[in-house]
Subunit: 219 residues, 2 copies
DNA sequence: TGACCGTACGTACGGTGTACGTAGACGGGA
DNA sequence: TCCCGTCTACGTACACCGTACGTACGGTCA
């Protein structure tokens, strides 16, 4: 309350985004929220873009990566993916800000560092580990954007538009699948793809000589 | 040149986005591009949001879905995924607009219709087909956002920031993988994940006891 | 005391989307 | 021919945006 600082500004921004949406934030709005003049913000933040970087860092710092090195690598991958998805639950309206900003800061790179470590320990090396990492990031980012309503679901993402009435002649498959398309359990969807990816990774490892079904522990 | 219409406005918007980036577009800028008053645009487009919907539709209409029903389903999936990725090549700076707008129009739903048809013919039914569709969309969206520089690559996405110097003590894995992280062949990355997903889908089908010839191809 | 410096703040500029009112072109009865 | 309704183009105006700039105040040290 007494003096302004960067942390307070960022916290106010996150709070405002979660309350009123990412479109609602402006330097004036944040300043008003803090009961402070607009230009006072610029003593602690160089510009709006940097403030949004701060928002992304704050959200990323909030996720808990409880990595258990003794667990099987498949479970470690699942846990890390779920930890990242937690963002969409805890900060749904900030999610777009988080994923659309490439951070060169510690908070921004820790998830990648952890993921890469896990992939290496699982047995992926060099270029293949990086490819696995990038594929996972792509899947998770895409899933999060669906979950927070940026990307289409073909389900009533939010109750603003009820449901597009599709022409059965033009879209027979979409109509046939309408009952399944009308619902979107985000956790179940995420877990489905996650499991598919983990299995695919296990197969990829198994091709190299490990047993296929029961991936042996290589402790 | 003679009279204004929606198609011309949308075309000008796409053109402007590709030339100067999505941040550069504004109603005034588009009007100036067309040599027309700002408010004249509103005779043909209700608001800016609808115009962006038009941009997304125009880009989506531009992709060619050459579906060959006689091909193996794995190949059909690959072809459709690549057709969608073509957006990032043909309209890189419009890509974010395309994927962040959920369209209830024909152009917006055709890709999903085709994909769902392919998945059904491959043998996925009901809820599982929808889950496969959504997982594929998530992966493709995530890949496209990486490709157009929205989402982090950990490679020099564009030569504005040279390369973040990472602390080897904090990020040993990122440093160890720096040579592999420094490059990002978007086509290769996309194909890697695509192949993994297709194989995972084939395994999922195979687990159900389908005949061997449907088990999919290998790399 | 004076110099210095960081913080808070007001004002101002050029930009944004768009509501509203106006003016002209066009076409169809009377 | 005149009149009238409809459609299109356009200018103006409003509220808002990010932020460059100048100023005023409080504390710290010479």
């Amino acid at each position: 309350m007494s003096t302004l600082n960067r942390a307070k500004i960022v916290a106010a921004a996150v709070d405002l985004i979660e309350r009123e949406g990412a479109d609602a934030i402006s330097m004036r709005r944040i300043a008003a929220e803090l009961g402070v003049g607009v230009m006072s913000l610029y003593n602690h933040v160089p510009n709006k873009s940097a403030l949004l970087d701060g928002v992304a860092e704050a959200v990323l710092s909030g996720i808990e990566f409880t990595d258990d090195p003794s667990a099987h690598w498949t479970e470690r991958v699942r846990i890390q993916a779920r930890a990242f998805r937690q963002i969409a639950h805890d900060y749904p309206r900030s999610t777009m800000v988080v994923v659309s900003r490439q951070l060169h800061s510690t908070a921004g790179m820790i998830p990648a560092e952890r993921a890469l470590a896990t992939l290496r320990e699982a047995g992926f090396k060099g270029e293949e580990a990086v490819r696995m990492l990038r594929m996972f990031i792509a899947y998770i980012v895409g899933s999060l954007l669906r979950e927070v309503g940026v990307t289409p679901t073909f389900a009533p993402v939010r109750p603003d538009v009820p449901m597009p009435d599709v022409d059965p002649a033009l879209f027979p498959e979409l109509c046939a699948g309408a009952p399944d398309l009308a619902v979107c359990d985000h956790e179940a969807e995420f877990e489905f793809g996650l499991e598919l990816l983990v299995q695919a990774m296990a197969v990829r490892l198994g091709e190299r000589g490990l047993t296929g079904h029961e991936r042996g522990l290589e402790t």
